[in-house]
Symmetry: C4
Subunit: 235 residues, 4 copies
């Protein structure tokens, strides 16, 4: 039986997961979306290895922020400990997405930040999209997915930035993670990241050593959407 | 209530906006189309940040050529002042489109004109697709979107060309704008620009330093479609 | 009224034209297919500038091999004289296709033959896909589309090959033409050409200066499909 | 009449073949899937040159492991002897796929292994995807498709690896082959191979001379999915 208390996060996680193939961010089962309820200290996440077309809200697995299964017959995504660590430390984050989207993953495999080249990028963050370094061998051999969460947080810390400054990151040699206030926003960020990754790669093909976007444009575009006087979108 | 006088431009703007995702020119809400009525001195434009699938003719916002809202409950696109400036100065232009289409934006981020390499390009203009330089910091910090309109007009002026010579431009570090006698033609120009941008990038990948198309072919293909003796299309 | 004698070529030309957008070989109106009846000395071809979704067999224009309209209210494709010249000289060709497909056009814009790098290519021809040089200025200023037909035939002649050795060509600075025993085969060749063009470009990106396919493989794959002892496909 | 004993492999081969166009792995008729019944010593395979939309389970051809037709009115795929040789030698393999998928074929045309650059790759094998060298001229002129099977097995042997270590290979100058415990898994491997091929090419475009994935990550990701303690997917 399914606890009604988790109905909303099940539905949000389900809806988010179904957006991944629709937006060409995944092939086969290469991605997962979760939706958190910080009040109850749990999140709903995709079951591991189950094709998207076989998903339903009921099949989402309910897990607490220490990675323990609270409700569900299926195994949760193998990346569940990463989601758990991040929710535990980021109280304002309601949704997390992990994909192996093609262009974002290519940058991750190159272990390079995605440079800020245009206003499409600046509309979403003032920073290069960070690429966390690949983990130390000890961390990899230990609790790998759990450590991945710390690797993400440490990469932000090492650069002196927060998860609010940039809602997306590449894990070096691996692939992108994105987050947001809810699952829908986190999925939106995955869609945007893939487009930014593609545009940046093409920009360098047209113009190697392309300079970064100038500060005035970075500031202007970010503030249009995010500042105190933001005027993009509806009130 | 909706003024019947604006019915046609609402419908044309709506139809134009719906063409953007259909032609893979936008993701999420990255683009807007407007349709002008020069007789009434107004244009209809997409509301800001509203997903395409939620649009309707009634949701288009009616704005005058100074950027004042004439009719509509929603905020117009944040790029509205750019459209307004261009309509005010270009009396024969009935439609304007702004997108962040992938390949066009990559050229804009490289701050480079798209070189004329083939007859596909020459069928639409005899010129390289101009890339306006990024704006001065003062303009960016001022009325940014309003100044973007002037940046476009000045870039054409600096090259000694008019908005009739080339119905498309890249704004450096930003993205493409296109225009035409009506919204449908402006959207057509956005579709063509993206294809030309893609072909030009691939041409350089196959053959770096590819020479420009020779003048006789430029002239011939442009005149086939646009000259006094044009014979492309139906009478 | 429509002459019943032309029913079959109208239908074949219509069906062929509708395959172009379906196979992503064209945007807007950038391509045309014709189907010939050598017994009657005529061919059916797409009307100029008409969007594919508005086509019907009845709208195809019937033209003779000198380019004169035999039946039809619409203007035929502006490329009609090229088709006419080729049908006049190639008695065994029943279908011709012209597109501005993206990758094929990029090679044409680079004015380079598409090198034979693999068996996908050798399954269709033993030769590099030839790129005819751009035409002389005099030919361009004269009967341009008519001369395009001769440019294609001369390019084959200059290389000592025939239109049966390779059923596809690039016209330098312009775009691809393909042909075949009927319109369906000509369209098939356009689909194959675009894929070969794409694979060849990617091969060079992975391995610049990639060597050509070795002769034994060229011969083997071509004979599998085309030789006296061909064993590909059904009898 | 159709022998009921072959019903299952006919259906599996049919379903697998239909997945190829659905996953954009083939154009026209460029690919074939087979499904084997080792108990009966036969496999079902696509008929040669028949478009996917005209296929049905009944049209699959039943062939034994020496390449003799057991049941079916149509000619089997011209690549049938390659499938037969591999089934004869690999008792645990129930499905084989051959495609000319774009990116995989580009690597094959470059005659290069696909380097292991990220965890997407390591999730499926710890090895670079091998590219078998093009065959000797004698083998090409002899029983070409039969020898292709040996070329694949020899390429694995020369590297001291088995068909269980990596379920995919490129045949140099030609295209990919994949296999698996059944046809569905073999098709899955073709989908994955194409994505890995694409990501690796893009990685090199962003970062030429990109280093290989470090051993700890290779081991970790492969064991997550394949080791004795694998924890990816459902039990």
């Amino acid at each position: 039986m399914v606890d009604n208390a988790f109905k909303q996060i099940r539905e949000e996680a389900y809806a988010g997961n179904m957006e991944l193939p629709k937006n060409n961010l995944v092939i086969v089962t290469f991605g997962n979306v979760s939706s958190a309820d910080h009040g109850r200290g749990v999140f709903a996440i995709k079951p591991s290895g189950v094709p998207y077309e076989q998903l339903s809200p009921e099949k989402m697995v309910i897990v607490d922020f220490d990675g323990n299964i609270v409700e569900g017959d299926l195994r949760p995504s193998s990346d569940t400990p990463t989601h758990a660590v991040l929710y535990k430390h980021w109280e304002d984050v309601g949704g997390i997405v992990h994909t192996h989207s093609t262009y974002g993953t290519a940058w991750a495999q190159a272990i390079m930040d995605i440079p800020i080249f245009g206003t499409t990028h600046a509309d979403h963050t003032t920073l290069n999209i960070p690429c966390a370094p690949p983990m130390d061998d000890e961390m990899i051999k230990g609790q790998y997915e759990y450590e991945t969460g710390f690797q993400i947080m440490n990469a932000l810390k090492d650069r002196g930035i927060t998860h609010q400054d940039v809602e997306m990151i590449l894990v070096g040699s691996h692939a992108p993670f994105t987050w947001g206030k809810n699952a829908a926003k986190a999925v939106y960020n995955s869609v945007v990241l893939e487009e930014i990754a593609k545009m940046a790669m093409f920009t360098l093909q047209i113009h190697p050593n392309n300079p970064l976007l100038k500060p005035a444009l970075i500031e202007k575009h970010y503030q249009r959407k995010h500042g105190a006087n933001a005027y993009y979108g509806q009130k």
